[in-house]
């Protein structure tokens, strides 16, 4: 059985959790799991990868060209590595994985399989289409399967317990097509949206960004992350990376609390696999109530502070 290459997502120092979900997906396919870490000064990330349960080998490409993991530079490295005998290349379906995987696939002249939610067999996968309103089972006969993994559909692999070797590898370095200029990362003390156990999201019903502290207070009581609908983001209430939905982030926490969100299909696509859904909306006909386990028809400006107090 051919080996599986998982492309690690990391910030050179630490491994991002999406890598752990991809390792779990790889484990359900079968074959040795190797993790490729491309970065600059990324020894720590490589060591973290070597401890992940189920990982047989870590390949570390340490080069200043890979510092920001630009796809123009990293894709040729992944392709050259994959050609060394891998049947699958996996990455998390995150903004990094989605940017990279199709570039790798096209260079290998194979299809890419986006956002899988299930592994049927080594060449057959389930993936949502039409904003999750249908699930397609697709089969690839290509020599290499290039796949991104929906993180909410696979458990995270244990971060400890493994003892893989770390081997240095090298690639062609900078392709000279792109240059990293800057990053503006949203700072937050709260858990990361896609990894949080509880998510509290606000929609247009919040009326303005000034009202979001209401939700933040509730989130802090619950140790929750704060999310939003597209309408709330478009209106500038909160930063873009708060958006939950078909074209934003996919979340599946234990508890999702939707506040002043109507429940458009594009929003539901991003949260309807949450374990328990609570909706607070003053319109009893709002479609969000069709997916909510517990619906509270109320004015959010009264209900949210009350809920916060009651916890």
């Amino acid at each position: 059985m051919a080996n599986i290459l998982v492309v690690a997502e990391h910030d050179n120092a630490t491994l991002k959790p999406a890598t752990l979900n991809a390792v779990t997906a790889a484990g359900t396919i079968g074959g040795d799991i190797h993790v490729l870490v491309a970065g600059k000064g990324a020894q720590a990330a490589a060591e973290a990868a070597s401890k992940v349960a189920g990982v047989a080998k870590v390949l570390l490409a340490d080069d200043s060209a890979y510092e920001h993991q630009l796809p123009e530079d990293v894709a040729p490295l992944v392709v050259a590595t994959a050609k060394g005998g891998y049947g699958h290349v996996l990455a998390g379906a995150t903004s990094v994985g989605k940017n990279l995987a199709p570039r790798v696939a096209a260079l290998l002249d194979v299809a890419a399989i986006s956002d899988i939610t299930g592994v049927v067999s080594a060449d057959t996968f389930e993936r949502p289409i039409y904003a999750g309103n249908a699930i397609a089972t697709v089969q690839s006969k290509d020599a290499v399967k290039v796949v991104t993994v929906r993180t909410t559909a696979f458990e995270t692999a244990a971060a400890t317990g493994g003892s893989a070797s770390v081997e240095p590898v090298s690639g062609a370095g900078a392709a000279g097509l792109s240059r990293f200029v800057s990053a503006e990362l949203t700072k937050s003390e709260r858990p990361e949206l896609t990894a949080a156990r509880v998510v509290v999201s606000g929609g247009r019903g919040m009326q303005s960004g000034e009202n979001f502290p209401l939700l933040e207070a509730l989130a802090d009581k619950l140790g929750a992350a704060v999310g939003a609908s597209r309408a709330a983001v478009d209106a500038g209430f909160v930063p873009n990376d708060y958006q939950v939905g078909q074209t934003g982030k996919i979340v599946a926490p234990e508890l999702y609390i939707a506040v002043g969100i109507s429940g458009a299909i594009q929003h539901l696509a991003g949260m309807k696999d949450s374990k328990v859904i609570v909706a607070i909306n003053k319109d009893e006909e709002a479609p969000i109530f069709q997916v909510a386990d517990y619906g509270l028809v109320a004015d959010l400006f009264k209900a949210v502070p009350e809920l916060e107090q009651a916890l």
């Binding site: 123009e72 199709p102 690839s140 949203t186 509270l296």
Partner: protein, 249 residues
Amino acid sequence: MRILVPVKRVVDYNVKIRVKADGSGVETANVKMSMNPFDEIAVEEAVRLKEAGKASEIVAVSVGPAQAQETLRTALAMGADRAILVQTDAETQPLAVAKVLKALVEKEGPQLVILGKQAIDDDCNQTGQMLAALLGWGQGTFASKVVPGEGSVAVTREIDGGLETVDLTLPAIVTADLRLNEPRYASLPNIMKAKKKPLETVTPDSLGVDVAPRLTTLTVVEPARRKAGVKVADVATLVDKLKTEARVI
């Protein structure tokens, strides 16, 4: 510079889709079709670049059935100068579309190709990245800002943790995210004018591209439905249910 904008004809985003009973796919007969929303944003961005004097000509392209002409007419009404339909009744998968687009890029010589980040039917989010790979160009995906400069373009991208800006050597690929702009509605006079703009039809064969799908869809089914929930009378009941019934707090 010339800008190429690929636009896909998809089931309108307001339609509640139906999975066919035989599990072969999603019902598309007699369903409202529209331009993929992200492609409207891509067209709008190209038109704004032209209005700002940064682009000279906008060519809209669609790969699909004869009816995709309507989608191209919409792009022309929004401000594209001419259109190319690459006509095929085959299912158009991203790798095949990228190969068709590469052939057209080689013919048309654009400096910038602006695609949507994702088609809302297949939800693939692949074509732009694949085209960039095939051409050996840089890619500014999930763009919320595009600023062309001398020989390069600065693209601000929506990433999971916030925003990232990259500078790409031209020619380059951009894929549009939701907040790049708000697309205009085509005015009636522009819709009339669009009818006279050139729309050329070619075939994948004439471009020397094999569009046969690589992925076989075995089945399409409806997702598992959630169990119907309950309405609670007040906050106290809600807290109680979350504690004792759902046990999530």
